[in-house]
């Protein structure tokens, strides 16, 4: 009788020793005697419990964690392969409160299956969405996506169906689907986890997009900092091609769709869609003027759907279960679920997928368990380096695009970076401007020059408290950047700077 043991191959788990753990299981005499099969999966998202070891006992998966390779022999000696008690035992993984309280739609399969096993994907409901889409007209698919209420999960929150409709309406000899997998925002890793943990969902989503608007070629623009995701995507694409899910005449439908992974080269600006397209064309990734929109003149001048990994990876479940099913989650105009990433100084960091409407308090304390250091949480930055710093007094805000806009913040890609009370907010404001200076594409002056002048101003303010009028000058500079920049990098860098100044003005007195 063989026993199945599950260890994640997700980069976060690997960074904490999952490869060593998997090897130790395979080599252990007790495991060899019992004919143990080690299945490498995505991560459940409980990063603080990685490396997590799961043992299948009576159809249920019993978790132990975090387990180092060195701890494994004692764990197996205690009978972990039959689910025995041990101080590291967590119990049935899917019954853990942290997992059970989530609503996993996009991440339904992540952590459960071998991510590059096509059969396992299909057995877990994979490709049901595409099968349904293949029986619909392009206009029907686009309507379904519009009705689901899905908004761009990369951060801009633009209705996905409307973007698609524009591409559908163009007549062209070639259209493209481009996946923006340049997940450069600090505190975000949901794209990476989905690509590593369920790459077929992205492949299926992109194929649905191609079928909907008549695009036959797709590109996944993946940041070079994600080598584990590149491996998983390439394995999955090869398997999809070999089994008739990509390429010519997909599953006998007469439809064609090809897919290729392209690597970025360490430029944050490529997360901005028009600079990403420039980069794909082999150019300096300078932001394009708009109009024309990428939906009309995108990659190589052709109509192009460009969407984030999570947006595309959510399409299979929308097409499988229907627009109404997805739309029933969420609040207001924020429909469906959001994979939220708890990062930084947080005790229980990882991925939580919940319907919109959950508050920061619930996320930070019920899921996150407070700060990792045990000190009070002073602020969180939501939505990456261009997101506002939010003070504790606003932790009752519900996760909702409009509610966040109302407090001058943004949901963005759903990353939450937690800081305890040791943080120096003037330093973080300086960092935001420094980051903008490092990553500016240089095309527009407010971003290219403004960021550097901002760093100089903050250096003066931090060291001496600044000259009279320096804070007013900083506000003026931020105003120019916000309204005068070509894209979100220069245009939104003022958010972290001004929110830090507004909510934590004492840190700008130069006394630190």
């Amino acid at each position: 009788m063989s026993v199945r043991v599950f260890v994640s191959r997700d980069a976060a788990a690997v960074s904490l020793g999952a490869d060593e753990l998997a090897a130790a299981v395979r080599e252990h005499p007790a495991a060899q005697r019992l004919d143990v099969r080690v299945v490498r999966t995505g991560s459940r998202g409980m990063v603080w419990r990685e490396p997590l070891l799961e043992v299948e006992v009576g159809g249920e998966r019993i978790g132990y964690g975090p387990v180092t390779a060195a701890q494994l022999p004692a764990l197996l000696a205690a009978g972990a392969l039959s689910g025995a008690d041990h101080p590291l035992k967590l119990g049935p993984v899917e019954s853990l409160p942290w997992m059970k309280r989530q609503e996993r739609l996009t991440f339904a399969r992540v952590g459960r299956i071998d991510p590059v096993d096509l059969q396992a994907y299909v057995a877990a409901g994979g490709y049901e969405g595409l099968k349904r889409a293949l029986g619909m007209s392009g206009a029907q698919i686009v309507q379904e996506v519009t009705d689901s209420g899905l908004r761009g999960r990369g951060g801009a929150a633009f209705p996905t169906g409307i973007k698609w409709k524009t591409v559908l309406e163009q007549s062209a000899d070639q259209k493209y689907v481009v996946c923006n997998a340049d997940e450069g925002d600090s505190g975000t890793f949901s794209d990476r986890m989905l690509m590593e943990g369920d790459p077929f969902s992205l492949i299926e989503g992109m194929t649905i997009a191609g079928v909907a608007v008549g695009a036959t070629q797709g590109y996944i623009y993946l940041r070079v900092e994600y080598p584990h995701a590149a491996v998983a995507l390439r394995e999955a694409i090869a398997s999809a091609k070999a089994n008739g899910w990509l390429g010519r005449d997909i599953q006998g439908s007469g439809r064609n769709f090809d897919l290729e992974v392209r690597l970025g080269a360490g430029a944050y600006i490529c997360g901005e869609e028009t600079s990403l397209l420039e980069s794909l064309e082999g150019k300096r990734a300078e932001v394009r003027f708009r109009p024309p929109l990428p939906a009309i003149k995108g990659l190589f001048g052709k109509p192009t759907i460009i969407n984030n990994v999570i947006s595309l990876g959510t399409l299979p479940v929308i097409l499988q279960r229907g627009a109404a099913f997805y739309r029933d989650f969420g609040m207001g105009r924020s429909r469906g679920t959001l994979p939220i990433q708890l990062a930084g100084n947080v005790r229980h960091g990882g991925l939580v997928e919940k319907a919109f409407g959950i508050t920061l308090n619930e996320l930070l304390y019920d899921f996150g368990g407070g700060s990792a250091s045990g000190r009070p949480i002073r602020t969180v930055q939501v939505g990456g380096p261009l997101g506002a710093y939010i003070p504790e007094s606003q932790f009752d805000t519900q996760l909702d695009y409009e509610a966040f806009t109302a407090i001058g913040a943004l949901v963005g890609h759903g990353g939450i970076v937690v800081f305890d009370d040791t943080v120096d907010m003037a330093r973080m404001a300086r960092y935001a401007l420094e980051f903008c200076a490092v990553e500016s594409c240089g095309k527009c002056t407010p971003c290219r020059i403004g960021s550097t002048r901002g760093v100089e101003l903050l250096d003066r303010i931090r060291s001496t408290g600044g000259a009279p009028g320096d804070l007013a000058l900083l506000e003026d500079l931020c105003d120019t950047m916000q309204h005068g920049s070509l894209c979100g990098l220069g245009g939104m860098t003022p958010f972290p700077v001004m929110s830090a100044l507004k909510h934590f003005s004492a840190d700008f007195s130069g006394r630190r």
């Binding site: 980069a11 904490l16 505190g187 990476r192 990062a343 380096p385």
Partner: protein, 159 residues
């Protein structure tokens, strides 16, 4: 290690030929050159430009735009320390200081023994297990200063 001119020409020709028919081939070609040689030698620019019918300035402009492409050989291993917000929140500044101390260099430089090149990186996507670092293509989480010294010692011993 630098590359002899004949070898370089041959390598570039081979890489360019392998990318025939690729749409927007410049970045894939530059990746392939850096994968093969460890860097993109300035002497390769005219060859690449000619093959793609671009000006040298255009190719140079692309190479210099992207942080990832290097125009000089790096040390045997590249050590990247994440200095983005999520890692700052768990005091990556201490890890950065430990790296500078251990290697005796600032960012962008190579240790005297030629073994390690130290570089900053802005997010490795390991934000729930920071501070994060990468050596070669191995990712490490919870890299405290002590852990960094262990990791560097392992890489010094093994390779």
């Amino acid at each position: 290690m630098t590359v002899a001119t004949d070898d370089l020409t041959e390598t570039i020709d081979r890489i360019v030929a392998a990318h025939a028919g690729v749409a927007g081939p410049l970045l894939p070609i530059l990746h392939a050159v850096q994968d093969a040689l460890g860097y993109v030698p300035p002497a390769s620019v005219p060859h690449i430009a000619e093959a793609l019918h671009l000006s040298r300035a255009e190719v140079h402009g692309v190479i210099s735009f992207y942080h990832y492409f290097r125009t000089h050989p790096a040390g045997r291993h590249v050590v990247q320390i994440c200095r983005a917000e999520a890692c700052q929140a768990v005091h990556c500044a201490d890890t950065e200081a430990a790296a500078r101390r251990a290697l005796g260099v600032e960012y962008g430089a190579t240790s005297a023994d030629g073994r390690f090149t130290l570089e900053p990186v802005y997010c490795l996507g390991n934000c729930a297990a920071g501070p994060s670092a990468m050596v070669g293509d191995r990712l490490y989480g919870r890299v405290t200063p002590d852990r960094l010294e262990e990791i560097l010692a392992e890489w010094s011993r093994a390779r």
